[in-house]
Amino acid sequence: MSQYKIIFTGPVGAGKTTAINSISDLPPIKTDAAASDMTKSKKSATTVAMDYGVMNLPGGEKLHLYGTPGQERFDFMWDILVTGGIGLVLLLDNTRADPFVDMKFFLDAFDKFIGDTAVAVGVTQMDVSAKPTIEDYQVQLGGMGLKLPVFAVDARVRNDVSILIQSLLYSLDPGLEE
């Protein structure tokens, strides 16, 4: 039986662990550790390896959900991670000083994978920082020649994460039936 996965990526604190937790059928296997002094101001624990969750599908199939480590240092790890992936969910933290830099970084880093599959962008923490707006993100993406689904997301809310993934799947194939 084939193994398929969706990759959740984004900067530290963007909500990848929480988003996977929101839709996983099993408690996600977390690899969080107490944050170092450097990351304490953002969150009390940070993901040092990768998060894993799973959605059980009819017929015994499984969709695996992988979250990349929040620290984005080594491109060689990502090549391994995306093998067999059907798409990318990029979560961005709107309280970061320049989330557009983050967005460009991750889109560039996963450029080949996105070219072969699809990506959906979720912006978290918009109730804390309303700007940039979703429209601002779309303008930035337009400048990069991209028209991607970009939604405000509360990673704790299953429905938000679900809609984000649905947009990813329809981007892959609008012919999928509801």
Partner: protein, 394 residues
């Protein structure tokens, strides 16, 4: 010189254990032992993650203690600080080796200067510069903002079954009959929608808090926050939005500016809505499955960007329609045909998206000539993707 026999000693900062271990392996492996990780007290060079919170203060503290020690910063952005060698993420081996080489050269110069200054008796000047933390914004968490539940609530996803009851229909009109497409349209100006759009436009242009008076519950518009306040529930709003009011209320509808004081009266926080979510709903309920009169049903329509679906009422097939239209312009009938759905779902979606300015119409001949295939290429994993979709929509 074989660098692995005389590796540079580096200390890591801003990296937790797992990442630090990976860095150790990275320097040994891909960087072929050009550097080795040691404790802070033994190091010749500091390597920082420049994107973590608090790095500015940490870097300041280190550079105050060791002003002549070269710094390598792994960063998402281009660096600006003098005497810091930036390596842009994701880290590439060639870039890392280049930065290590620069650090070696820098160290050589420092040692040379120290030797000369020792001879002349001059102390070495400190080169400490203030490092601003580029990744910290300060926020005052506004509890009131977080209590605006209507504004932040997750989207409601309608299915086909509940659509007609929720959206309504027009007596005597079958919007799904191709023979009636030409008349399956409505003029937003005849409905509350037109007045809401007009009031939003005025409020945004003038940057003023406005009140839309309609003989019904007033709508207070806060353009700076992109939100409105209305003392009515969705059921009441749906009923009012579906009424043709052009012949009865037009003369009574007005928009007036509000002073900040009068707009700041104590208001129930759960009755705040985002302007977009509000207008989207009002347009859906005015449409009743029809398309806006400004759309030429014979010409292709395009989608400028995806609607922010997590904060909007999601009508049946809206995500599919968006995914198709974002690829290129199509006529509304073609969208319905390709997706094998009732035209009313396309019409209502277009009505809402048009109200928010998210759609446009190809007016040039060349745009109209864009090939609209009747089929779309199915994804090779279509069956599996469909099962994920079923699970998500549960």
């Amino acid at each position: 010189m074989d660098k692995s026999k005389n590796p540079l000693k580096v200390a890591l900062h801003g990296m937790e254990d797992r990442t630090a271990k990976t860095m150790v392996m990275y320097l040994q492996g891909p960087c072929r032992g050009a550097a080795v990780v040691v404790s802070d007290s033994e190091a010749d060079v500091d390597v920082f993650d420049a994107d973590v919170a608090g790095v500015g203060a940490l870097m300041d503290a280190h550079r105050a203690k060791k002003p002549h020690r070269p710094v390598i910063a792994l960063s998402l952005r281009d660096g600006e600080l003098a005497h810091v060698f930036y390596v842009k993420k994701p880290v590439k081996t060639d870039d890392m080796l280049g930065a290590l080489n620069k650090a070696v050269v820098f160290l050589g110069r420092i040692k040379q200067n120290e030797a000369q200054n020792t001879q002349t008796g001059n102390p070495v000047k400190s080169n400490v510069e203030k490092a601003d933390n580029p990744n910290l914004k300060s926020f005052v968490i506004d509890d009131d903002e977080r209590k605006k539940t209507a504004k932040h609530q997750a989207a409601m996803q309608l299915n086909e079954k509940g659509f007609n009851a929720f959206i309504g229909n027009v007596t005597g009109l079958d919007v799904n009959d191709p023979a009636q497409f030409a008349v399956a349209k409505y003029n937003p100006k005849d409905y509350f929608q037109g007045h809401v759009e007009s009031a939003f436009k005025i409020s945004r242009e003038q940057g003023e808090i406005m009140q839309l008076n309609s003989g019904w519950s007033p709508v207070i518009i806060f353009p700076q926050n992109n939100e409105i306040w209305l003392d009515a529930d969705d059921k009441q709003l749906r009923a009012f939005s579906g009424l043709v009011i052009s012949n009865t209320l037009d003369g009574k509808i007005s928009t007036t500016a509000l002073t900040f004081e009068s707009s700041s009266l104590s208001r129930s926080l759960e009755k705040f809505h985002s302007m977009d979510a509000f207008l989207w709903k009002v347009a859906c309920w005015a449409s009743k499955g029809r398309y806006p009169v400004a759309i030429d049903v014979t010409q292709p329509v395009y989608l400028k960007s995806w609607p922010n679906f997590t904060r909007l009422l999601i009508t049946p097939h809206a995500l599919r329609i968006s995914a198709l239209l974002i690829r290129g312009p199509r006529t509304l009938a073609n969208v319905a045909e390709v997706l094998n759905i009732k035209p009313q779902y396309v019409f209502v979606f277009i009505s809402a998206a048009y109200a928010l300015g998210l759609t446009g119409q190809a007016r040039r001949e060349s745009d109209a000539l864009i090939a609209q295939t009747a089929e779309i290429k199915a994804n090779k994993n279509k069956g599996f993707l469909g099962r994920i979709m079923s699970k998500l929509r549960g």
